[in-house]
Point group: none
Chain length 191, copies 4
DNA sequence: TATGAATGAGACTTCATTCAT
DNA sequence: TATGAATGAAGTCTCATTCAT
């Protein structure tokens, strides 16, 4: 059952995604949800809190998408592919949310900014550890784990753009494999 | 000679970088520039126009930094390294500008958003063409040029973060070589 | 039998007394009455009307307390004492109502303000006539009846404060006699 | 020179006095001051702060009016008369301020309420001490100082009403003497 | 040219009141 | 009759922009 609260969240995602936090008016969101302006305040205490809830729920959703917990015995390539594919899926299925999470960070509120930044760091930390471990195990060559993390994070951070802004509709699994191949093997011809 | 106009641009960069577009007040900028609030309007017609000028000037500056025109006879690796090093230099020397150009994109104004998006596409187009050509010439293996562009664009798009937010002070040339190596050769051990 | 209407009035007294008219929310009153917000409107047409009813009922109650009708044959001192004692009782037994009637007059509504002001004038008129008559009869010396009324009205108007705000728990009858003594004989030593 | 700040305070006094705190709109005050709505905020940070400043300035003004510092060698009767006359003057010359200070206390803000209540207590404390001392010196008979304070405070607290609401224009000095006489000698004929 | 006091449109939020259940 | 979710009018406050000096 879709509760009114969910309808408001949905409308919030749509409007925040289209207009950004500061240009989104509470009235816009109310109209998008087909309700009165005051009703939003029955469910959320403020514009900021509504946005925070959207961010949090979005991030939870995202984390499910890119979770690799069940695949912990896989090799590094498989894991990178899984994460990439999950990210790809998420961007394709939650275009508006992607835009909010990956772009319109803006400086809305210091606390929120810090929260979001820390979430990002945390995620990167996990990835970096994974890289480091794979280097130790010999699965990867002696590279700078920080830079590799930056590279993988970067490519993921860009993917939403062609998907959301240009309607790119690639097949997630195979594209993720291609990206993984690039990351693993680079772009020079094998000798 | 530093004109008053330049002082305002400088102050704008500082304040927009610190607070983001919407939280930056014209008064803040005036104070930072050491002038009166009204004076800004002698040189810029509006807050948005001031921001646009900063973006444009910033992008011009950036393009000089990453320009590879004088090195058109170089191989693809050298070019990627040059672009990366230029990007790195730019982020290190213009931290505030970097933050504005690479993060706080927000949805300030549709026209500006489109303009910025197109600049980005343009830049990516050049890179993509370069990749494609290098594939044709056999310098690179048969990879998806779009994905490679995404990867290079992504890594560059991320670099400002550790530099600006965490004060990372790596040496530009050698780090750019490391990144180039990652892009070119991937991360698996060479057999 | 305590009707639901009475429960609402009771709750209104409590909440209006604690928070004042403007800070009292209909929801607060509903909660205090243990009913739903909408139910208040089954018995009272608006917040203002509820307040008016409370004022009116409060004033009726007050008038009973200070009524001296049954004691019309008494002398002026006895009457002043009776009124004072009645007032004292009222403040002690209906602290919340006292606060509403004697303090939180605020300018809620012009009509209500006028109504309340007239009630007061009316009461003072009766007192003033009584004074005047007592002067004529020689029971009181040649004083300005208006000023005496002001004095007696003033002292009564203040009494609620120590009682309600500071929990002063004096014995009504004897205190009323002391006050009457002050009014009658002043404060200088008798020669 | 009348500053704009003073104009706003003046307008605030007028509007708060006429409509009470909650019914006074910032726009009303702006219109009364002949300025734009936003201008008020150049001088006062909020509606509440404007009101507080009015209260404080009003109370300062009032305290000057009723100050008896220069007359400390006078007897108790003279002092009561001076205070009463000062109060009378104040009510006559600052009708709107009187209304704000002596009536529309409402429950605007807990802090303000407490502040005002304490000011009142403080003033009463001084008066009560004076009474007590005069009893000790034999100038007054053995009366309850608290009740006398209540009486004097009460009469003063009422005086604004006929002056402000009914336009009573008595002569301050002589009226103050009459009131003092009532307080000192009571209302019964001297035997 | 430079200023900053003044402005008012605009956005968030509150809460008395309504009405479908 | 009783309810409380929904509403939207209304009010405070912000800040980009103007303009008289």
């Amino acid at each position: 059952m879709v509760t009114k609260r969910d309808m408001i969240l949905e409308a919030g995602i749509k409007v925040f995604s289209q207009k950004g936090y500061h240009h989104a008016k509470m009235e816009d969101i109310a109209v998008a949800a087909g309700i009165g302006k005051g009703t939003i305040y029955e469910y959320f205490s403020s514009k900021l809190q509504l946005f925070q809830e959207i961010m949090e729920a979005g991030l939870r959703q995202y984390q499910e998408s890119v979770s690799t917990e069940k695949i912990s015995q896989m090799g590094i390539a498989e894991r990178i592919q899984k994460i990439t594919a999950g990210h790809f899926y998420f961007c394709q299925n939650y275009k508006e949310l992607s835009r909010i999470l990956f772009w319109d960070t803006d400086i809305i509120d210091d606390e929120l900014k810090d929260w979001f930044y820390n979430k990002r760091k945390e995620k990167e930390g996990v990835l970096e550890d994974l890289i480091r471990e794979s280097i130790r195990s010999g699965e990867l060559r002696e590279v700078d784990a920080k830079l590799v993390t930056l590279m993988i994070g970067g490519i993921l951070g860009q993917i939403w753009m062609p998907i959301v802004l240009e309607g790119w509709e690639a097949e997630a699994e195979s594209t993720a494999w291609q990206i993984t191949d690039l990351i693993m093997n680079g772009i020079v011809p094998s000798t």
